[in-house]
Symmetry: D2
Subunit: 347 residues, 4 copies
């Protein structure tokens, strides 16, 4: 059994980690920590765990956790994980960081977008960006995983085959993303007060959202050149789900739907967690809800010579806890889909 600790277990990503890991056949939860609910029973915070998990939330102590665990999941706001993790910790336990600290390889880009210094830049080279479908080999041997952001997972998976195969104008990429409110987390804020975000839609952090450089880094690596994109997130009055509507100009105006579909198949046909929709059918967030799937569909607009790609994930699962566990499965050499195979719940 893999002994897993969850730091920040009472946030939404933490709750999903706890829920999925409790039902994972190869895992035993060693510790759950929570700053807000220290010394309280877990099922007193989340009553859905009644009769299932009454462990006490501990104050976080990374060394103690590392001594007792094979893997530590960290689900904390950015800036904290990087102040806790050291090479000594990594010698004891694998770290899967759901936060943003180790995603950007360039410390300067991190500091520019996050407006804060980086606490452990010496670990940036070692850390592996845990986008499982594209980094599997690196993940296998990693000690420190930077679990991708929710918007980034959906955006990169949707665009990667096109970028990799040089099918689109790299300067033309626009990603218009829509997220359910769990994406904003459990911290109280007027913007996520029910009566303020129900029955309305808004764009936010236009041209400034921190997932932008993350998408650019990964697509840039695939392209072999620097890429700059436009990324606009929107808040949608629903619990879960990310829909990324991606636009790009086609390099070759005569490329067919079938040819592009073949490119997607090349990369994703054998990927359990990626499902390509049929021609004329597009992803909806409900079809992936409560699952680790990423659904991808596209259309070609001949009039404008653009391709429109739509990707959908569950932000808390493939966009956070599920992908983190997928990373764990890869690292520990067990079947990648273990604990993550449930059929989406669309109702």
């Amino acid at each position: 059994m893999i002994k897993a600790a969850i730091v920040g277990s009472t946030g939404y990503a933490g709750e999903e980690l706890t829920r999925i890991l409790l039902q994972h056949p190869e895992v035993e939860i060693s510790h759950v920590t929570s700053h807000s609910f220290t010394d309280q029973r877990y099922d007193g915070v989340y009553h859905n765990f009644n009769k299932r998990f009454d462990n006490i939330c501990e104050e976080e102590n990374i060394e103690k956790l590392a001594n007792n665990s094979d893997v530590i999941f960290i689900a904390l706001p950015h800036g904290i994980a990087s102040s806790k993790i050291t090479k000594e910790i990594l010698n004891k336990a694998k770290i899967i960081d759901i936060g943003a600290d180790f995603r950007l390889k360039d410390k300067n880009i991190y500091e520019e977008w996050y407006k804060t210094g980086h606490e452990s830049p010496e670990l940036l080279e070692e850390s592996v960006y845990g986008l499982c479908e594209w980094k599997r080999n690196e993940i296998k041997n990693a000690r420190l995983i930077a679990n991708p952001g929710c918007f980034t997972t959906c955006s990169i998976l949707s665009l990667s085959p096109l970028v990799k195969e040089n099918l689109i104008d790299l300067n033309s990429i626009i990603i218009d993303a829509k997220s359910g409110v769990t994406g904003a987390g459990r911290t109280l804020d007027i913007g996520t007060h029910f009566t303020e975000c129900n029955e309305t839609t808004k764009a936010y952090k236009i041209a400034s959202h921190r997932h932008t450089p993350e998408i650019e880094q990964e697509l840039g690596t695939l392209a072999g050149q620097k890429i700059q994109i436009s990324f606009t997130p929107h808040l949608i009055p629903m619990q879960r789900g990310i829909l990324a509507t991606c636009y790009a100009n086609l390099k070759d105006s005569s490329v067919t739907y079938a040819e592009i579909k073949e490119v997607y198949r090349k990369y994703y046909e054998n990927e359990y967690f990626i499902r390509l929709t049929e021609k004329g059918v597009f992803p909806e967030t409900k079809w992936v809800r409560n699952s680790n799937y990423c659904d991808i569909g596209f259309a070609i607009d001949r009039r404008t010579n653009r391709i429109i790609i739509v990707g959908a994930i569950d932000n808390l699962i493939k966009g956070a806890a599920g992908q983190a566990i997928q990373n764990m499965n890869i690292i520990f050499g067990i079947d990648e889909k273990t604990g993550l195979e449930n059929i989406p719940i669309s109702l």
Copy 2:
């Protein structure tokens, strides 16, 4: 492996049956039928099943199903199941009817509330009302299960211990229930058009809802006398969940919270799918969502000498597909919770 057929598989209860049975370790789905989607792929109707279940929906043929299956789940509007099922069918396969045809033991009461004749009254005596926690022994040997209604499951489970132990005035029972919109099914109707039922709440079928005699029958059996209750359902703008707020006058004004809690424990302490909330904590539908649990809590109002009991279930699971599968597990002698153990998904 138990070979299971699902009749009416593309309605909401049918979809949940399909989803849960596909993931049930002891079950193999033999057939799915659908009148509306005959000859279409299941995952073309419900895209959440992409890459998981591409069987073709068949036209229903009860004999063919019975020949190839150990159990047939029937999820159809009332009046149809009773016209299909015969003793010969029951000799071949167990029948678990999600609909209402076999719930009321008295044909006259059925005909009075459902405003239609009963097609197979000769089966009423044999049929077993499949409220698992209270009818387990009868279920074990049943060939024909009448799976309880969603409101009734929640209401009866909440009130039974009090009725059984003669703690409340039987003439004083009022059940004010709230249901998510999946309870109304997939059939198009102006009342469940998004823009007509979103952002509003209403009572419906006041003093005339068909779950009323079902509750009265079962509580009456426990009480050993005829009972008449008031039952008022309300439609709530959410997907899933039933909350039943039940009111009754206490017979003994000096009875304590602890004493009543002890009565609930007597009946439910060992019931896996029933969870009693702690004093001062009450069920919410989210805490049982996507699970087979029924959560129950109560308060005593000393001023009025009333007890207020709150029960919560997921209407599609404990109120339909989940309880049906729980019945199947009991009948086939496997662990009652098989395939139904997932932790609720509250987010």
Copy 3:
């Protein structure tokens, strides 16, 4: 023009007061105060007011307001208004308190339910409970109005004719109420965080909600005797609206629907803001949304000899700001419906 000040103008009741009063043909807003947004522009807090109202939110100073205003609306948490208002203030300006401080005539009952002392019990006798349809004559000459609570308005209007005419067993009254989330106000709380109250329903403050003694006081006055009721509020994932489902035993089992309808007509036929639904039709919150109407319908359950009455209001309008303005209209001798006549917006 009536000069009106709004204290607590950036809470939800305050916002509705501001919105309606700005469009009231006989009113000029003299001041808006806000503790949280002092010195900020009103349309910077509520962008719906862009180009319509850019006044600066002031720190509250009751004497200054009284000197410059004919009427002061106070929309603050309980306990504050009673500490500010004095007979000198009342000599200068009429006070309409949206809060709870002056609703309960018995200081002891206030202190028992609100768990705090009362700051100005000497004003309790003078204050008038501003339930317009039942207190119009007292309101006309009032200086201090205790604007009724949202649940209480809906509940009392629904039950008063039956109580007044002695048609129901006074010990049998149960009110099961459902409220949209604006009823909980704008203060951040985990219970009204979008992702915590969306897609779920719960009862709260069972047998302990503070609107209980208010309903009992008013119904008791009509009955000429002490009344104790059961009142259970529920939180519904929608913005606005209260639905009160009320249950009571009929004294005379032979009373007809028509006879009871006649009683309702006797009291409400000429009331502009009360609408009785036709037989078989029941109120829904959407039919009164964004209006000052209270819709009332009922059914008789012959089997149990109960009457079920359903009332619906918009909690922010008839349940708060609208009724407050209706009170103002009465006090200042202008047409009671001025500024409040808009047709409900059901979509």
Copy 4:
């Protein structure tokens, strides 16, 4: 008083026309027609009209309406209005068509996108595209108004100043739009069944939505050249509102925010119904809900040299009934904002 008839009065645009016109000080409703509810009381269909409007819905008879009315609003699916309207009708009454029949000036483009013949192409030249802020002079003398589509109103108002002033690359325009569910109307459809569109988001009619050529026509006219855009609508689980997130490449990478703001002010500063948000503030649909306002904000993304413009309207008001009435006001020479001045209701 202007005598106004409403054809298709029980659809959602029709209901909003009825609601607003009933409260319009210069209008008297002459007829309401409804195919689905012929001979039924209007307040029996929409209970929010109880005690306010009990007229009987008539079968549509355009000649009769024209004889008794100064203006006829037509809110029907495309293809019907054009089969009813003739020059004789136009001699008798002004026609404001909420539908799509007269919006596209080029019959061929209409037939290509709507896949049907045009019934009265001879009226296309006379008809005026009723985008009030840009066509006021033509509207004044029009007999036949083609009221703009909801998405088009929001998109064109957001982009027009930039196109008119030649600030953006016309080949680079992408409009990613989000709509509430009332935009899909009252006709029952599985896609707008509550449980199918609640808690999910999807794109639809990608690269094929019929509002595309309408936007292209109007922006093309302003640009003086043919324009082709990408337009993708999305369905959002809320009642009302359209948010259009528009992307375009700036021609001059050195243009400042202030310079572009000045361009918007040039066209919109004196427009009552257009509100420009402050720098860093972006429109949300709630801020315009239940009003005729269009809010517009923008950001410049220096990294990609793109401008991102966000526009918001209430789809049923500025996107349908409100703008239709604004057109009526202009035609009849009364203050353009009459009946449309209410402050948005954000809660």
